[in-house]
């Protein structure tokens, strides 16, 4: 039964409750909290995104699950929460990246793209007839020679991190990063730290089938998803 206190403040149209909360937005954040864990780590050599795909049936084709997406040559995102919502945001991000190229003949800044996505997500917390996105994104890439790592959530909040995590494992991941993160490390060391975080977040339940890694380095200058072989070699080193 609905608690009398919050009655009618959690319906389709987002309306403030008397104590200043937006229940629909909070429920959407809850969808993210129940999502799979994704981490992002910045270091001096580049940025890495690692996600756990949480595969719970041997019948599932693991490579049909996609939670890291390349947006443009220099930008990639990782998602947590509703995958369908993430795909809609990813498509929008890809279009915004290309619009910037057509309009200005320049690759879009990671910050500009992140703000555009945040602004878009915010509109779904204010206008009627739609629900907020049940997704958080880690948006990473390189702009003007700088590596960037942004996090968006369903409210449209945009924060930049040195290292962060979203989804179920966020508390465990953040605890580990608070203790062990350093900017002065190689990309391999960043990946190792990310896998360690994921290991803690999933209580060791991950392998080459369930881990996806996306990376952009100074040397390569382009965002790419790692091949299964590469992922396997990093996981091997981990164990």
């Amino acid at each position: 039964m609905m608690n009398n206190n919050q009655a009618a403040y959690d319906r389709a149209i987002t309306v403030f409750s008397p104590d200043g909360r937006l229940y629909q937005v909070e429920y959407a954040r809850e969808a993210v909290k129940r999502g799979t864990t994704a981490v992002g780590i910045k270091c001096q050599e580049g940025v890495v995104l690692i996600v756990d795909k949480r595969i719970n049936s041997r019948l599932l084709e693991a490579n049909s699950i996609e939670k890291i997406f390349r947006i443009d040559e220099h930008i990639g995102v990782a998602s947590s929460g509703l995958v369908g919502d993430a795909r809609a945001l990813v498509d929008r991000a890809r279009i915004e990246a290309q619009i910037n190229r057509v309009t200005y003949d320049e690759p879009i800044d990671v910050e500009t793209l992140s703000k555009k996505l945040g602004d878009h997500m915010q509109t779904y917390t204010q206008f009627g007839g739609a629900r907020p996105y049940g997704t958080a994104l880690l948006i990473t890439g390189i702009s003007d020679g700088q590596f960037r790592l942004f996090e968006t959530d369903p409210s449209g909040t945009l924060l930049e991190y040195k290292a962060t995590g979203i989804g179920t494992g966020r508390p465990a991941v953040m605890k580990l990063f608070e203790e062990e993160y350093t900017f002065e490390c190689t990309i391999s060391e960043a990946i190792a730290l990310g896998l360690k975080a994921l290991h803690e977040a999933t209580e060791g339940k991950f392998d080459v089938n369930t881990v996806e890694i996306g990376v952009i380095t100074q040397k390569e200058g382009e965002f790419r998803k790692m091949s299964r072989e590469e992922v396997a070699s990093y996981i091997e080193q981990q164990q």
Partner: protein, 209 residues
Amino acid sequence: MVEQSDTMKGTTTVGIVFESGVVLASEKRATMGYLISNKTAKKIYQVAPRIGLTTAGGVGDAQQLARLMTVEANLYEIRRGKRISVQAASTLLSNVLHGNRMYPFYVQLLIGGVDETGPVLFSVDAVGGSGREDGIVATGSGSPMAYGVLEDRYVSGMDEKSAVELAIRALRSAIKRDAGSGEGMAVVVITPDSYRELTDEEISVLTPN
């Protein structure tokens, strides 16, 4: 079809890339048929801290585009925390012009300045065709006379003083032989550190007799 003659009814504008910046220059005559309608017409607009836009063609169209580009440059800077590049500004300008292809702005433009990549200069036509200019460019009815001088005297990598003198010399020829060009000159020098419009005194000192 926009005939070239439609967009070149008067005016001479000149753009020169020099060693560390860009010179933009124009004369000040505006005409309506055989009437000189204005003797102090403004044909060079500062659309960003280090970007200038020279205009030839319809005055109202040119002014509208200059206002639009100024606003877009401001928005770009405040939204993104960095100045718009000349390349980005010229691409945006091309898009606006091409978007109005069926009801075009009657203009022939030069957009140039200095950004992180150094001095950059583009010419842009009425329907958005744009091209980067590495050295010299001239537009308007006086451009053939201006080009004669520019082609003769331009040297790649010339310094600021020589570039300003060359722009003035090219305009002077156009003013002398083109009925659509005349009155005074406006000369703008853009370097990494400044956007500066020369005073009439500075120009007259540099003008050959």
